[in-house]
């Protein structure tokens, strides 16, 4: 963000506590001192107007990065996001763009309970006109965020809050962008494809390592990185190679991103499938119960993923 703000004066940040407090997760620490209060704007507690105002500003030549402090607080803003942002380009015959990047910490595993842990991607995945990005690594996060900011479309940029502390990685200092809409094979393998995104990628990689060391299967881990537009090519290529597909996501299983991927594979890779398509996802209960035992029961884990993979390998 810092680099983008230096590169392009039309980029600015707005949100609750982003300025003097530096952001609840310190994402914008130091920003207001460098860029001033006109480009790092502390807002009142009013998500609907934050979104609407960011949108309006984006119609008129600026590139706002509104932050929603926790995904769970996003709902009042959805009217502007789905009702207005997603339709801006389509409804004006391409004349009006909404180059807004909405940064949203999401996801569970931090004992945050019902209102600090939600997975919200499915609704936006379903909404034409939006782009939805969910990186899993620091390297991807930087490249994708830069692309999102430079993109002329509204991008929902999801940052899994557990990965803020848990995942470390090298991030080059220089300017680089990663394309939105391109998945990445994080680990190649020839027996089973596992498709996932966000925090779950790290558990998938652990599970793949387990299966490799057990000699059971070589698992290929595909990190979607972007949910919308979905990189169907990379996913299908992998499935056609391995013949077995497991989809993993933290979000509730019914109607989640996994359902679409399963349908896609069944539709376009049917002849290549050697086993039913599997899904390891959050159960259909409101995210995320508070108690440790309940949250652990909810969250997909390396163990649960490995077990599903072993079953698939044996099929």
């Amino acid at each position: 963000m810092w680099e983008e703000m230096q590169r392009d004066e039309s980029v600015f940040v707005m949100g609750e506590d982003v300025g003097y407090r530096g952001g609840v997760f310190l994402a914008t620490q130091g920003f207001i001192e460098e860029f001033g209060p006109e480009r790092v704007i502390d807002t009142p507690l009013a998500e609907a107007s934050i979104m609407g105002i960011a949108l309006g500003a984006s119609f008129r030549g600026l590139r706002p990065i509104p932050e929603v402090e926790f995904a769970d607080f996003l709902w009042p803003a959805v009217n502007q996001l789905i009702g207005e942002a997603a339709r801006a380009c389509y409804g004006t015959d391409g004349k009006v763009n909404a180059p807004v990047t909405i940064r949203i910490p999401y996801g569970g595993g931090i004992r945050g309970g019902l209102f600090h842990s939600q997975n919200v991607e499915a609704i936006f995945f379903h909404t034409p006109g939006l782009k939805v990005v969910a990186p899993a690594t620091p390297y991807d996060a930087k490249g994708l965020l830069k692309s999102a900011i430079r993109d002329n479309n509204p991008v929902v940029f999801l940052e899994h809050k557990k990965t803020y502390r848990l995942v470390r990685g090298d991030v080059p200092d220089e300017d680089y962008v990663l394309p939105i809409g391109k998945a990445e094979v994080k680990r190649p393998g020839k027996n089973i494809t596992v498709v996932s995104y966000g925090l779950m990628i790290h558990y998938c990689l652990e599970a793949a390592e387990q299966l490799a060391s057990e000699g059971v299967a070589q698992v290929e881990v595909v990190d979607l990185r972007t949910l919308k537009p979905l990189d169907t090519e990379t996913v299908l290529e992998s499935v056609k190679k391995t013949g077995k597909l497991l989809i993993v996501h933290e979000d509730n299983i019914t109607g989640g991103v996994g359902s679409e991927i399963a349908a896609l594979a069944a539709d376009q890779a049917f002849d290549y499938l050697d086993a039913p398509i599997g899904r390891v996802c959050g159960p259909d209960v409101p995210t995320m119960p508070f108690a440790q035992t309940l949250e652990d029961a909810y969250m997909p884990s390396t163990q649960k993923i490995a077990e599903a993979l072993r079953n698939l390998a044996a099929y």
Partner: protein
């Protein structure tokens, strides 16, 4: 007055204990302490019966205890045990209890405001004498739902009291940066309802103002916006020292001059002839009760993984 003293001590003890437990790593999740704001919850809730309703916030332990929440079941909920008010599913920010009319603490700012109005509507439609009270902070008064609800409650003359706890900060953002007004009660005339501002750290003043507002609601006179000027002595949540956006001197000054418990103590001992021994005895008794509440919580079972799937839907359709 002694009752209010008891209640404020109950809250203060609970919050201090919870804070210590959290800092020693025994409590998961987040914790938002009510220390310094006790007078508002107590001064208001003393006018409420079990069958009256309240909605609360992420900083809700004070409201819950003031309304009749039991410290043992609350502690159990903080420890995520099955004996907690929400069977460990909710944690600190989501404690609710049907029997004492607690419609829930809430992690989403402002979300409780319409819920209280709805409860008030149900009371009105059912023809009861019940009243609903919504607690929220200065930050919440910028949410659209605050304006929508106050307007509607006024039009329908709902038996609800809107209690704003203005502690001058919306998390890390000072009030002067998130709204131009200082006295939140000035918003009331926009909806043509009475707006009153009191010193939220003076339990007697809160008591008097709440008396009027609750009575008005109960007698069919419609809603009131009761603005209580207060201050939280600790940070927004544990982990926030509360001094990166506030002056350390200001915090210390507030603690010295405006501690609601110390102020009531002065009144009790100097004007009401209550002895310090009597007050110490109350404190000791409550401290002991908190000890057993803590034991209860620590010895309670954790939920089983299968419990994650319980209570998703209500029972079957009524015939």
């Amino acid at each position: 007055m002694l009752y209010m003293y008891r209640k404020m001590i109950e809250i203060r003890q609970f919050e201090e204990a919870a804070g210590t437990l959290y800092q020693s790593g025994q409590l998961p999740g987040f914790l938002h302490l009510y220390i310094g704001e006790e007078a508002t919850a107590v001064g208001v809730c003393v006018h409420l019966q079990d069958e009256d309703y309240i909605t609360s916030t992420h900083r809700g332990h004070g409201h819950l205890i003031a309304k009749g929440g039991r410290r043992d079941r609350m502690m159990a909920e903080l420890f995520a045990r099955t004996t907690g008010y929400c069977k460990g599913k909710g944690g600190s920010m989501h404690i609710a209890d049907k029997e004492t009319g607690i419609l829930g603490a809430n992690g989403v700012v402002g979300a409780g405001i319409p819920l209280a109005a709805g409860a008030a509507l149900s009371a009105k439609l059912r023809g009861t004498q019940q009243v609903a009270v919504s607690f929220f902070g200065d930050g919440a008064t910028n949410q659209g739902i605050f304006h929508e609800t106050l307007n509607l409650a006024a039009v329908w003359e709902l038996p609800v009291v809107f209690v704003c706890e203005n502690n001058r900060f919306g998390m890390g953002t000072p009030q002067s940066e998130h709204q131009r007004i200082e006295d939140i009660a000035v918003r009331a005339p926009s909806y043509d309802i009475p707006g009153v501002t009191v010193d939220g750290n003076d339990v007697l003043k809160v008591y008097a103002a709440a008396d009027e507002a609750v009575t008005r609601a109960r007698e069919g006179g419609g809603p009131t916006l009761l603005n209580c000027d207060t201050y939280r002595f600790r940070g927004h949540h544990i982990g926030d020292p509360g001094t990166s956006y506030r002056d350390r001197e200001e915090v210390q000054e507030q603690e010295r001059q405006r501690d609601p418990i110390r102020r009531l103590t002065e009144v009790l001992t100097e004007e009401e002839g209550v002895s310090e021994d009597e007050l110490s005895a109350i404190e000791a008794e409550l401290a002991k009760e908190l000890e057993s509440a803590l034991e209860f919580a620590k010895n309670s079972p954790e939920p089983l993984p299968e419990d994650a799937l319980n209570d998703l839907y209500a029972g079957s359709i009524q015939p």
